[in-house]
Amino acid sequence: MKLQTFTNLNYILVSAFIYAIVAVSFYLAVEHVIYDEVDTRLLVEKSDFENFVDRHGYSETSFYFVEDKLDVNPASAPSPVVFTDTILQHRYDARSVPFRQVSFDKEIGGKLYRVSIRKSLIESNHLLSVITIVMLVVLCAGLSLLNWFQQRSSKRLWKPFYDALSKAQEFNIHHGDKLTLPPQKIYEFNELNSALNKMTEKIIGDYQNLKEFTENASHEIQTPLALINSRVEGLIQDSSISGKHVRWIQDIHESALRLSKLNQALLLLAKIDNGQYQAAEAVDLNKVLHKHLDKMEELFSLRSIQVSIDKNEPFNAMINPSLADILVSNLLNNAVKHNLRNSGFIAISVAKNKLTVVNTGLPLTVEPSKLFERFQKQNASTGSLGLGLAIVKKICEISQLGLQYHYDDGLHTISVTKSVVAATDEYLTSTYNISIQ
């Protein structure tokens, strides 16, 4: 619910409630005033009646013109003066007419009478209803007008807020642009805007620092590694070193190389994360694939892996060309690395929207859901860094490609699809879909 809708609704509810109370109390007040007036007049008429009776005595006829409005009955015991509402039949038609009456005792000719003087309330009631209706109409109009005005003014009032909100939603850390929201007349919005401006500036700055740090740290690591390698290579040339030490040196050498590869792979992931590979262009993944297949031919034959291509259509994806290279090469390397020692095969199919690599291999030892995470290794003893598929996933993520893994009866299937949501029907049962936004 929008803030404006909420406040408007609140405003309408509260004002309706208040107006209802106002209306009721106004009605009661007017009614009270009318009764007060009628009662005063009845008392005046009572005095008039008493004066008249005292001066002229009482006879039925003398009060004929006020028939129905005067009732004189003999009374047995004295009772106090009371005002009551009553309804009487109209003289000429059958209408019931509301009356106000005052009843009092009066001695006429030594005998006690109960006298009631009445006044029709019909005009007063009419007046009351007219007043009430007019009041209701005016109040309703006022309420609507106020509400309309309030809506308009709050829309104008909140505009800077909604502007800031939409700008904040569009804010993308990778673009490196901080928010520049204009100053506002209203203090709170002005504060909000300047806070957002400062905050995004700081975020961008920190992010920039972090990126630089990651890259610098990685470069700084490369230099000592280069030193280690150059020294170790020097040692290797030294023929005076004995067999055992040669092995140690070799271990140092390999570890240093591995460290450097690891560092490079992590740096690549960091760079992709930092959006340094955002320049995408249309790349035919099929072409990239064939380039790599040619390169790896000797490897396939050495490992006696049969490679078959079932479908061979162009697959144009919007992707950074360097990343496309890495993506395909990692997929193929993965298919070779985890293939069977002998008699394995790799089946590749490239359709318009989908690249699938199927390879034979032992069942997974890691959970399928973790397959694409960093440092998840199928076999700890292989020289694998455990980053290949993590890089594949990262590349798919930033290139808006879908990525699926599926294992069935000794066959590992990894598919890269063009649309992120394209679920592959044939694998619905046991496919692990990695949700990529």
Partner: protein, 225 residues
Amino acid sequence: MKVLIIEDERILAEGITNHLVKEGFLCEVVHSYADAIPKIHLYQYDCIIIDINLPDGIGFDLIKALKTARSTAGIIVISARNAVEDKIKSLDLGSDDYLTKPFHLPELNARIKSIMRRRNYGGANEIEFEEIRINYNARKVFVYSSEVALSKKEYDLLMYFLANKDIALTKASMAEHLWGENADMVDSFDVLYSHVKNLRKKLTEKGARDYIQTIYGIGYKFSKN
């Protein structure tokens, strides 16, 4: 052959120098941009090795300076920056090659020699090693004047061996030479092994001596002895 090494890491510079001196290069080393400037203006070198990140300047400016001075020296950039842009930039500026740290010293050696060959250093287009003769313009290999049919990788391997005679070559450096920086290809050592085996077989079949020595646990050495 004179080589100038511009590298601020003294140990690395020393390692490079030691290696290249063994190969018969005449090496001079400077550790800063300021020291490099007079050197490149005063003397002629056949090859200059430039580190991009120097404490007091950037190596790209040295390449520019060399090009303005119409230097004919071959330029190899070494850098810890693996960024593609840096590589492209240094090649655009006119350097002949680019190596990312950490690199293998035999690789650097092979690259220098390759540049020298491309510049036709010494006027020849053939390398001879005992009974083996290589015409590197035609990419043909002869043993006692009969041609040996080598695959591309075998040829590259032989060239790498010849660029690094009498040097123990690690398998890692050889694999990287053959398959480039993304040589983390699985089992590249197995493939390497089969290439070495084939090369050895093809050369000896034509009557060449077996110069490829296996160094246990490390790799190979191409040597007369």
